[in-house]
Amino acid sequence: MSTTYVGALELASGAVLVSAIMTLWRRQVRSIVTMLSLQGIALAGVAVVLATHEHDKALLATGLLVLVVKGFVVPGLLRRVSQLDPNSRESAPLVNVPASLVFAAVLIVLSYVVSSRVTSFAPTVATHLTPIGIATVLVGYFMLVTRRRAVSKIVGLILVDNGIALVTFLLTSGVPLIVELGSSLDVLLVVVVLQFLVVNMGRHLRTNELAEMKALHD
């Protein structure tokens, strides 16, 4: 086992979690989407590093698929949504930014404590990094719960998906290509549907804060 492999895997999975934290840290929707794009690229990096280490062509294809869909297509769509409202920023999240950062630290420690028991069953370099994936999932749920903007909620959803993908890459060296294809396209579909929702909300209600939707319209 070469040190380059270990170093590259640690660096790529670390970058996934750091970009998740950055989405909580920034307020401007545009820079949140940029962080999401970086996360997609880092996630693809994890898959490619694992694939080159295990000489797995299917995993390499999965990595390239992740790079295209999560690194460029999904963030590109979200960027188009946020351009409709150029000054859009997460002005009043339910939990303010410093508190949510501290809460994220608690979530990271929690995921480490919980998953260290699980990873001790099969101690390899990859499984040791599982806490990072679980922490990304938890940060994503936290973002889904506490942010008001529709775009931020979509970002939270994608964070959860990226975290799950990271855990599957690290624990099982990737699911079969067809499953990953299905789940990536699912996410893409969800983003497209939510994009329509956001755009229509903006057009009809002149807001895209979900909390302000009180009644159904025809």
């Binding site: 170093g7 640690e10 670390g14 930014v97 410093p98 508190a99 950062l101 630290a105 480490y112």
Partner: protein
């Protein structure tokens, strides 16, 4: 090979003299870089040293209501900072009393200086002094957890919290430096150091605007030689923190044996490394506006999370 006591003593004295000169020069260098980046010529690099000489030749003046705290605080600041400089591994990994240079000792020696400055700010009873002291203490309290957790992350990797041993172990494990734990701790420490030295996103050192100033408000009651001592203490602190960042994350070039040549090389490399750190920080300063005081907790909480992340990745990848 452990160098002799005489060598360590010389090295320690060299460190103190070097930081006394280096700190003000670094501040002058940062001002120069900022000026050039903004299209101005700027003051010469040794301007802070000239200012200190000018201040030292002036007469001592005290506010009428000031107590004994006001003249004593500069000495406490300078003494605490000098002790921290003397025991830290800056040009050699074997300074005198290096075995007591636990990183927590350094942190709290610097904190002693900050508390003395805050007390002096409160002493004369003026509005600005109190305001500056309260703001400086708030920022210090917010930066403290991030700093301590980042330090824990560094010592997990080396298995010790003694600074000279941390640097020696890093020299023998060069792949640690590029590890994710080190990099996260580096970002967290840079945020903390910017807050602790009062540089731009946190405090603007070149303004005397009432609403925004922090460190300048705190030392507003000082004049003449005492102002020189307080300013020197602040710039030595900056020199020490920049050197520690440079040595913890890029330790090569520091003198490890007892040779005079190594010591000279250590001095040259330290000057080059700190100049590089100062260059980086001044580029950050050029690109950023001062944050509103109420947005500072966000920045420092971010630093805290990054250092927690550094600890966890350090534990995971151990």
């Amino acid at each position: 090979m452990v160098p002799s006591v005489a060598y360590s003593t010389v090295a320690t004295l060299v460190q103190i003299v070097l930081v006394v000169l280096l700190g003000p020069m670094l501040i002058g260098f940062m001002a120069k870089v900022k000026a050039r980046a903004e299209g101005r010529v700027g003051a010469p690099i040794n301007q802070p040293l000239r200012d200190l000489r000018k201040l030292l030749s002036k007469e001592r003046l005290h506010a009428r209501h000031a107590s004994v705290v006001l003249p004593f605080a500069p000495m406490v600041i300078l003494a605490a900072t000098s002790v921290a400089v003397a025991i830290s591994p800056l040009v050699t990994t074997h300074p005198l009393l290096g075995s007591s240079a636990d990183i927590l000792v350094i942190v709290y020696l610097l904190l002693t200086g900050s508390v003395a400055a805050a007390l002096a700010g409160l002493d004369a009873g003026t509005a600005f002094g109190g305001m500056g002291a309260s703001r400086a203490m708030t920022i210090g309290a917010l930066a403290e957890p991030a700093l301590l957790v980042a330090v824990v992350a560094l010592s997990i990797q080396s298995g010790t919290s003694n600074l000279p041993s941390m640097i020696s172990t890093t020299l023998t494990h060069p792949n640690w430096v590029s590890g994710p734990s080190r990099l996260l701790a580096l970002v967290a420490l840079v945020i903390v150091v910017i807050a602790e030295t009062g540089r731009l996103p946190v405090d603007n050192p070149s303004t005397h605007l009432e609403l925004t100033m922090i460190h300048e408000a705190m030392i507003l009651e000082y004049a003449g030689p005492e102002l020189a001592l307080v300013t020197l203490g602040a710039s030595m602190r900056l020199g020490l923190l920049f050197s520690l960042i440079a040595n913890l994350f890029f330790p090569w070039g520091i003198a490890t044996s007892g040779s005079i040549l190594g010591l000279l090389l250590g001095i040259t490399v330290l000057v080059a490394k700190t100049a590089l750190v100062a260059f980086g920080v001044s580029l950050i300063e050029v690109r950023s506006a001062k944050l509103r005081l109420f947005r500072l907790p966000e920045l420092l909480a971010g630093g805290f999370v990054l250092s927690v992340l550094a600890v966890i990745t350090g534990l995971v990848t151990r």
